[in-house]
């Protein structure tokens, strides 16, 4: 096997200093104990809220529990990965994902006019879940092998890498996932040191194009949809219903909340999607602002821990991947929590580790598995 660049980097004189090493057991298992603890606390918290949101449906709780067992297993398995191998194989992972996305558009199955699933006979899954991992990995691999800050050509190339799956997922159509996956890629671009002139330049271009788009290109019904997205409360019985009810649930909870299982908005079915996307409204109603602050604090700690891991990583692939996983996680939290409170347009984004969901939980914890792999990379350095 040929010597890779990372092998070389590892042998640099100052790259192998090992200060406080983590406890031997966790390092050998390639587990970051702090991150694991935080995730488990959020998971338990989430299960309690879900139990309440589902109307104390034990069957649903058990299903979610099983998904968590699978997801944590996936996390441990992922944590054992050789990151350099992952880096080398990233392009194949990415290409398989793209092919499956095309397959979804051609032979996919789904409901309500959206095709999101591929059926392999015995199992159905969403290829977009693969891209949630594949895009950050691919981007991290791409930039780790390039001179940074990235050149314009690299930037343009990376945009192709990001936007290809973005557009394919948008066509399913699944706007929320498309945006989030694109964001996870763009985060890598930003963390790789994208020059400010590109950042501000593109922001200015987007800003400048809004006016002509609105007045000359978009049709009335499209404008209407954008308006509804931006101000759902204008559509009181349609999209606005959810937001009005979720704000009512949150607001009526007050500081201490109505008590677990006692939320009237959620328990009496006024709150839609109460065990999936809008679950934080249940929590806000039943556990109040104190509950919300506690959950947000836990999320903040996870983000902080993830960024520390990213900061402490000793090669660019690990850094970029860790930062992307961590910040994407934050974006999930921010979009969901903000959307339910009526700050952001309603796009289908679950609340990480709390909302009911199967594959999305597995994907999420797989991402954290990568983060743990980075934290405990034996060819790298440990972080404390």
């Amino acid at each position: 096997m040929k010597i890779t660049s990372q092998d070389f980097v590892r042998r640099l004189p100052d790259s192998n200093v090992q200060f406080a090493r983590g406890p031997a057991w966790s390092h050998r298992l390639r587990v970051d104990p702090i991150l694991l603890l935080l995730l488990l606390v959020i998971t338990c918290f989430g299960l309690a809220v879900l139990y309440s949101a589902s109307g104390q449906n034990e069957l649903m709780l058990r299903r979610q529990g099983i998904f968590f067992i699978i997801a944590y297993s996936a996390m441990f398995i992922t944590a054992q990965l050789d990151l350099q191998m992952l880096r080398r194989w990233s392009v194949w992972l990415y290409l398989v994902g793209i092919i499956l996305l095309i397959a979804v558009l051609l032979i996919g199955v789904g409901a309500k006019g959206a095709k999101r699933w591929v059926s392999l006979g015995f199992i159905r899954f969403q290829p977009s879940e693969i891209l949630k991992i594949a895009v950050p990995v691919m981007m991290a691999a791409y930039f780790s092998a390039r001179r940074l800050p990235p050149s314009l050509a690299d930037v343009l190339m990376s945009l192709v890498i990001v936007l290809t799956p973005g557009v394919l997922i948008f066509l399913q159509p699944d706007l929320g996932t498309a945006i989030l996956i694109s964001t996870s890629g763009l985060i890598v671009l930003f963390m790789a040191g994208l020059q400010w002139r590109y950042i501000f330049g593109s922001l200015a271009m987007v800003g400048a194009s809004i006016w002509p788009m609105w007045h000359f290109i978009m049709k009335d019904y499209q404008k209407q949809r954008v308006l509804t997205l931006l101000d759902p409360e204008a559509d009181k019985l349609g999209a606005g219903w959810n937001i009005i009810q979720s704000k009512t649930a949150i607001g009526s909870g007050g500081l201490p909340g109505k008590g677990l299982f006692n939320g009237t908005q959620s328990q009496l079915d006024f709150l839609p999607e109460s065990h999936t996307d809008f679950i934080i409204a249940v929590m806000a109603e039943e556990l109040g602002l104190y509950g919300v602050l506690m959950l947000l604090a836990l999320y903040l700690l996870v983000v902080a821990r993830g960024l520390i891991i990213a900061f402490a990583a000793r090669n660019m692939f690990n850094r970029l991947l860790a930062a992307s996983i961590t910040l994407t996680f934050f974006v999930y939290v921010f979009v969901n929590v903000g959307m339910v409170a009526g700050m952001l347009p309603v796009v289908g984004v679950p609340l990480p580790l709390v909302s009911l969901g199967g594959t999305s939980i597995v994907t999420l914890l797989t991402g954290f598995g990568l983060l743990m792999a980075i934290a405990t990379d034996p060819k790298n350095t440990s972080v404390s």
């Binding site: 691999a141 009512t248 607001g251 960024l307």
Partner: protein, 621 residues
């Protein structure tokens, strides 16, 4: 992975890259903190600053104030027999908010329950009326047991469709009291728009309202006071629990003077002829019987009468919807004579010795016109008031009226309630006409002629009375001048209604004796026009027959029923009271186109006296 390793040979400044990355991580973390801050601020605003607003909103979501309709007061006859009842009725209702596609739902329902176009039409009409959210809208009333069971088996298929049990008005005597009781019907758009806020509140939960008759007159008493309950519902409108309840107060019951048996006798004796009967308790003014024939079944109106049924009733030549007893204005004919006889005596126009000669006609000196007596050849040469009343001599009254003049006749007559409403406690009463000079000038723009007085003296010409007015007049004679207001309701709940004296007619007792005795003679003297009415009775009664022309007979023409349309035949009238020595019951009977008061109307009066004074159950003992 050639592309990944390609740039490896180029110079890569790892320290510089790590430093830039470090800045970016710090910047990202700062951004994360700011955004978390935004979230916290947002939740603080919702949960602390605007908390109360959202508590209110949340309570409005789940708590609904639901009205509990009061039970409508019942109506009983004089012996406690139920005339208006509330019976459970099963209604198929739809909650629009839960039902989804209404047209589809109705189409599916019509396979189980018979639903015609009119039901559907009315359903949409009700749906668009003022309505509370999640209020069930009735689609079909009075489901049969079979329909209920058919629906119940399939109920699970119909979200938002339910069977509601409601109390609905039911009139067990059906057509017997239709005109007096009236009926309730669905509150219509017009009534709803006339409600003020408080009335609207009182009717929340109540779907029907008294439309005519007692049901309308005593609406506010029968209605009761609405109750309410706070109920908690879920988002689908399903009631989860009742938080608190304020019980409704049922409407007060009405106890009437009306007597089912007396009413039945009157209807039976009318025997399908058109007409009206009113009987009054002389001592109280209570209406014992009030019949208008033909009648109709008021139950048809309770849940909304079908268009075809209504048209049949409304367009019938016999006017079944018309309450003849209070709205029918008939010339009283000779039944007016006892009052005029009293007027003559009281005004000194005639006395007991006054006698006239009756050649069969009467003529004014100023006029060519012949005023005929009903009896060809007249009643003889020495007719006094007693004979004139007993035999109903017209010429005696022509002469007396001519000499008395309209002013004194008018002034005397109004003391008996002629020409004005009796203020009976049901709506739509008419006042009849008791003409005067002023009345004629106002309505006809003409002077009063002596001939007018002559027409009035036999209850023809412009005189019009309702059967109720005649009964009140008769009761006033029976009680020797105590004119009581007639009333249907004896007590509201436990409170007796008050006896109301309208007038005391001041006439010398010997005149009362004389006229009443003459009326007794009418019934019991073989020469009397109503001799057959009194024959064989165990009590003495007093009466007066009457015949009223429906169409004018030309001066030189003869009345001949054989050549005339039956509907142009004379109306037969009878007034009377019994027993003479201690009057209990006074009544007025009119049989339209019955021709002769004595033969057509009198026997009805006799049967009613028999029933009232010697009820069969007591007679057996």
């Amino acid at each position: 992975m050639n592309w990944a390793g390609k740039d490896f040979h180029e110079f890569k400044d790892h320290h510089q890259e790590a430093r830039v990355f470090g800045y970016r991580v710090a910047l990202a973390f700062l951004l994360v903190l700011v955004m978390f801050g935004l979230l916290v601020a947002r939740y603080y605003k919702l949960q602390v600053v605007d908390h109360q607003d959202y508590v209110t909103r949340s309570d409005n979501n789940r708590i609904q104030l639901r009205p509990i309709p009061p039970n409508r007061g019942l109506i009983y006859d004089n012996h406690g027999e139920l005339l208006a009842d509330n019976r459970p009725s099963f209604t198929l209702s739809v909650v629009k908010e839960r039902a989804g596609d209404l047209e589809k739902t109705i189409a599916q329902l019509s396979e189980l329950v018979s639903i015609d176009e009119r039901d559907v039409e009315n359903f949409y009409k009700r749906l668009h009326q003022r309505r509370r959210p999640f209020e069930a809208v009735p689609l079909r009333y009075r489901l049969s047991e079979e329909e209920i069971s058919r629906f119940s088996v399939n109920e699970f298929q119909f979200e938002g469709v339910e069977i509601e049990a409601q109390l609905m008005r039911y009139y067990p005597q059906a057509a017997l009291f239709a005109h007096t009781l009236g009926y309730v019907g669905r509150i219509n758009e017009h009534e709803l728009s006339s409600f003020d806020e408080d009335t609207y509140r009182r009717y929340s939960g109540t779907h029907s309202i008294g439309k005519i008759g007692l049901e309308k007159f005593y609406e506010s008493i029968l209605l009761g006071e609405v109750g309410s309950e706070n109920i908690e519902t879920n988002a689908h409108g399903r009631v989860l629990r009742t938080l608190n309840t304020r019980d409704p107060e049922p409407g007060a019951d009405l106890h009437l003077f009306l007597d089912v048996r007396l009413q039945q006798v009157a209807v039976k004796e009318l025997d399908g002829r058109r007409g009206a009967v009113v009987a009054i308790d002389v001592n109280t003014g209570g209406v014992l019987a009030m019949v208008s024939a033909p009648s109709y079944d008021p139950n048809l109106f309770v849940s909304g009468i079908s268009y075809a049924d209504y048209r049949a009733l409304n367009e019938s030549r016999d006017l079944p919807l018309f309450n003849r007893a209070i709205q029918g204005q008939y010339p009283p004919g000779s039944t007016i004579k006892p009052v005029l006889g009293l007027a003559g005596l009281a005004n000194g126009v005639v006395n007991f010795q006054t006698r006239i000669s009756d050649p069969g006609y009467y003529q004014l000196e100023t006029d060519e016109r012949f005023y005929r007596d009903w009896k060809k050849g007249g009643h003889g040469t020495r007719v006094n008031l007693r004979q004139a009343l007993m035999e109903s001599c017209d010429v005696y009254f022509y002469d007396m009226a001519f000499r008395m003049g309209v002013d004194r006749m008018h002034a005397f007559g109004i003391q008996f309630g002629l020409g004005s409403k009796t203020a009976i406690d049901i709506p739509s009463e008419r006042s009849g006409i008791w003409p005067s000079r002023e009345w004629k000038r106002k309505t006809r723009g003409m002077h009063w002629f002596p001939g007018d007085s002559i027409n009035v003296s036999i209850g023809q010409g412009d005189v019009l009375t309702t059967p109720l007015q005649l009964a009140v007049m008769t009761a006033t004679i029976a009680s020797r001048g105590r004119h009581l207001a007639p009333r249907l309701v004896r007590s509201i709940g436990d409170t007796e209604t008050e006896l109301q004296v309208v007038d005391e007619v001041q006439v010398n007792d010997i005149y009362w004796d004389y006229v009443i005795s003459a009326m007794e003679g009418t019934v019991h003297d073989p020469r009397g026009t109503a001799y057959r009415v009194g024959r064989g009775a165990k009590y003495r009664s007093a009466g007066k027959t009457g015949t009223a022309q429906v169409v004018g007979i030309a001066q030189d023409a003869e009345y001949d029923s054989d050549t005339m349309d039956e509907r142009h035949w004379d109306h037969a009238l009878y007034i009377g009271f019994a027993p003479v020595e201690n009057p209990q019951i006074a009544l007025a009977v009119i049989v339209e186109n019955g021709e002769h008061g004595g033969s057509a109307a009198g026997p009805i009066a006799r049967k009613m006296f028999d029933e009232y004074l010697a009820p069969p159950s007591e007679a057996v003992q």
